[in-house]
């Protein structure tokens, strides 16, 4: 098959092609999109990402069947080309292939492929269609670069690039001020993390004199003498990496940008939340676990903040009404779980959760996009009900997604969440079990708010918002300002008219509101994934953690540090306690079912009962008042406190955390205002400033040298 290449070389060349195809698609679209492709702009993008996906899949299979490496070589890494070479300092463009990067590459490209296909239906006829796909391809390019890089500098390139692409995509509907603000907010917040990451990279270079993963993780780090000599640095590096990861993965206190990021088109949200942006942080920490394992306080901090973020975001999600916003908070919450998993040193569990989460969160966002598409942009769950009848496919798909997200037994989220929680419960870390308890409580809340949405929107009697069936008004062409007029906005944009006409033309009346096949086919694929992906973590291997666990864990790196789940002796083991995992599984299942039942009661059963009471059984008010008391009891004992805490936390979110970000942006400005008067505009004051500067410098030197 590869005439002159060994499988090893073939793998390197193939994996270099994974980022190359999306990049090519982005360049082609940027150059030719406006003139040639126009409405078929999705074609190169989909071709590019599907090629990447197939290659990634092929690599995955090669790894799985041991075609790639001798038993001892656990990773493949090679420099393709030296980017910056300067004596001792060398940064190269290179590939690092191991099960972790391979798995990430496969699901990133796979989920992206589905999202791209969906987008071709969802964004059809939108203004700047080619621009959208160019940015999306760029996004995938940077993400795959990040995942496949073999050194920190290249990871940094991907890291910044992902930020840039997200900035462009979140601000895609730039005529909306909210979109612009959200884009800026995302970029600035990420910039805080980027700065931390950059400093961490510097410190890594200073400490290890190399930026290559193979040198950093498996070189001198293994020697206790080296670790003892660099204690402080080895504390700061993981800490800074942690902040970098927190910004990208939206963890407290740097999570503020993610809920706002839904200002971009819905497929962008799906891409950000499921496949690309937010998983980068998890990838980074999972990749750098060897560094973290040597500094437990930082690792525990990761777990602690992850756990707190999971709980906080879940309670906030309970009191939101906007569907996308609920899913955004749920993403933050689920990412919290992943960091909780990393914090108790179960990299496998965290990556497993990333993997399943990618399916169901993409599914939920895309299905929500379908709802939004059908409802004319309306997303308020109070304004719609019973959509099951109008959108059967979407409803079934979203049910699968909700079951997976809520951790309902049998669906994918159940297994991956359980992995993390049982690892936490059995952690050697004293507080691990407490985090697990909070995680279980969060699971209950998760099940509740997930099904609150489902029951509200898809069950019950059919209620449609006023905008249903219309097309969402394009932000580029506000109503009443249709193209063809002489308004300045459209000046010199000849192509815009056609696009807008298409968008507003009366479409053929569909039987259901599920949308084009391009939209519901990916949903079905994702629903299947969301349902069954979890079994990969149970079956398929004799190792604990099923196929995933076996795949990720089968490779002892360098013979000394195994990639998690089993670090060598002396390091924290993910399993140290004696709580039976089956027990946790049962508790988790019970809590998930309980959450679903509570949601069903409040948002399905009671809703109908209340309606009946109101209409038919007027004399039985007294009796029903008892019911209502119970309702109140529930309300006040369970829902209210949680809602209240959610409210408090969302207030905190709004004021304190936003305030923090504001302060970070504000201090330089304040400093600017303080020294602004020095630029007085008067020649004389400039001269005085200059002479004073000279005098002060001379005086200082005189003083210091004397």
């Amino acid at each position: 098959m590869y005439p002159s290449w060994t499988p090893h070389e073939a793998a390197i060349i193939f994996s270099a092609l994974i980022p190359a195809f999306p990049l090519g698609a982005a360049i082609v679209l940027a150059l030719l999109g406006a003139k040639w492709f126009k409405k078929s702009s999705h074609v190169p993008a989909i071709i590019g990402v599907s090629l990447s996906f197939f290659i990634a899949l092929k690599l995955l299979l090669m790894f799985q069947f041991g075609q790639l490496a001798a038993p001892n070589a656990t990773y493949i890494q090679s420099d393709l080309w030296t980017w910056i070479g300067a004596g001792g300092f060398k940064a190269s463009v290179g590939i690092f292939l191991d099960p972790l990067s391979c798995l990430f590459a496969a699901f990133v490209t796979g989920i992206s492929l589905l999202i791209f296909i969906y987008s071709s239906g969802y964004m059809e006829g939108d203004y700047g269609y080619f621009r959208f796909f160019a940015y999306m391809s760029l996004f995938v390019f940077f993400m795959t670069t990040l995942v496949l890089a073999n050194n920190f500098l290249l990871v940094y390139l991907g890291w910044e690039g992902v930020g840039l692409a997200s900035y462009l995509l979140i601000g895609y509907y730039y005529p909306r001020p909210a979109a612009r603000d959200a884009a800026t907010k995302a970029f600035i917040t990420n910039r805080v993390g980027d700065t931390c990451f950059a400093i961490a990279v510097l410190m890594i270079y200073l400490t290890f004199h190399s930026l290559k993963f193979s040198h950093v993780f498996y070189g001198s780090l293994q020697s206790p003498a080296f670790r003892a000599a660099h204690r402080t640095v080895l504390f700061w590096i993981p800490l800074l990496l942690m902040f970098g990861a927190f910004a990208k993965s939206a963890q407290f206190p740097l999570h503020v940008w993610l809920p706002d990021a839904m200002e971009g088109p819905t497929p962008v949200s799906a891409l950000i939340h499921a496949a690309t942006m937010v998983t980068a942080g998890v990838y980074l920490i999972a990749r750098c676990l060897p560094l973290f394992l040597h500094d437990l306080p930082v690792l525990h901090l990761v777990g602690l903040i992850g756990c707190f973020t999971a709980f906080m975001a879940a309670t906030i999600a309970m009191c939101q009404y906007d569907m996308k916003r609920i899913w955004a908070y749920s993403t933050i919450s689920q990412l919290g779980y992943m960091f909780l998993g990393l914090g108790v040193a179960t990299g496998t569990g965290a990556v497993f959760h990333v993997f399943t989460h990618a399916f169901f969160k993409a599914l939920l966002f895309l299905a929500t996009g379908s709802v939004m598409h059908a409802m004319g942009g309306e997303l308020d769950i109070r304004k719609m009900s019973g959509l099951r009848k109008k959108m059967p496919i979407t409803a079934i798909c979203i049910l699968m997604g909700c079951l997976a997200l809520s951790g309902f037994p049998g669906w994918s989220g159940f297994f991956s969440k359980d992995d993390i929680l049982s690892a936490a419960m059995n952690s050697t870390w004293r507080f691990g079990p407490w985090l697990a308890v909070v995680g279980l409580l969060t699971a209950l809340i998760t099940a509740y708010y997930t099904f609150r949405v489902f029951f509200r929107v898809f069950t019950g009697e059919l209620i449609l918002p006023a905008t249903a069936g219309q097309h969402e008004s394009s932000p580029f062409f506000p109503p009443g300002d249709l193209p063809g007029g002489e308004h300045a906005v459209n000046h010199g944009r000849p192509a815009a008219g056609d696009a807008a006409k298409d968008r507003h033309a009366p479409a053929k009346k569909p039987r259901s509101l599920d949308g084009a096949p391009a939209m519901w086919l990916p949903l079905i694929v994702l629903a299947i994934g969301a349902t069954f992906a979890g079994y990969l973590g149970v079956f398929g291997s004799h190792a604990p953690g099923g196929w995933i666990g076996g795949f990720l864990g089968r490779v002892p790196l360098n013979g000394t540090i195994r990639y998690v789940p089993t670090p060598p002796a002396g390091l924290p083991q993910p399993v140290g306690g004696h709580v039976n995992p089956i027990l946790i599984m049962i508790i988790g299942a019970a809590l998930a079912v309980l959450g679903v039942l509570i949601a069903a009661y409040f948002h399905r059963i009671n809703r109908q009962a209340a309606a009946k009471v109101a209409v038919v059984l007027r004399p039985l008010v007294h009796f029903l008042e008892n019911k209502w008391y119970i309702d109140e009891l529930y309300h006040y004992t369970l829902v209210r406190p949680l809602r209240f805490s959610g409210y408090i936390l969302s207030l905190m979110d709004r004021f304190i955390v936003d305030g923090l970000v504001f302060v970070i942006g504000f201090i330089p400005q304040l400093a600017g205002f303080t020294i602004k008067p020095t630029e007085s505009g008067r020649l004389r004051y400039y001269g005085i400033g200059m002479v004073a500067g000279v005098a002060v410098v001379l005086l200082g030197v005189l003083y210091l040298l004397r």
Binding site: I688, A692, A695
Partner: protein
Amino acid sequence: MDYTLILATALGAISLYLMLPRGRAALVKLGALIGVLALGAGLLGWFHWTAQEQAVHYPGPPAIFFYIFAAIALASAAGVVCHPRPLYAALYFVLLTLAAAALFLLLRAEFIAVVLIIIYAGAILVTYVFVIMLASPGGEIPAADYDRISADPLAAVLVSFLLLGTILQMMSYGQAALAHGPGAVPAAGPAGFGGMGMLGANLYSHYALPLELAGVLLTVSLVGAVMIARKNEPPVRMLDSGEIPAE
């Protein structure tokens, strides 16, 4: 620390501060008085230094000439800075140039002294005076407001004399610095030192390239002056002033 130097610097600062135009004559006189004191303090300081070096006898003109011309130079510099009427200030500058030329003669730079008088006093200052006259169409008698009251005298005097004090202080610390220098004592050079021949030979042997560059620069500034000052209207006659130094 050399306290006489600090005293002299401080007195000089006060004196200049008082003399800066503020529309009050009494202060100017007080300032001039303090200025004399400052010069005296400076003189004391130098005597003090010189006293440490009794053993060495320097040939050349007696130090009194230096003190006289230095005092004239400083006083006329203060006059340039402080006089509210630009024309008088320009004339003070001529005086400063003459004093400087005299000092150059003491230092055996005869040719430079002559050049200074010819170019500065003779050519540049004349153009200055032209421009001053041009810009004061109502005659010179009432000085403009912006000349009669100086701006920010305190800050300006403070920073300038802070710089001066620092430099003088550094030099007083570093008195021994040039002891290892290659030079001889002043004013004992070979015959012809400072003359036109020596300078010309030096210029055209060692500094031929800078000389060419100076020509380029003069051309550039000439063209530039014309370019800046010309308007679409018929050129104003006065602009040709830029040509004079080019010769």
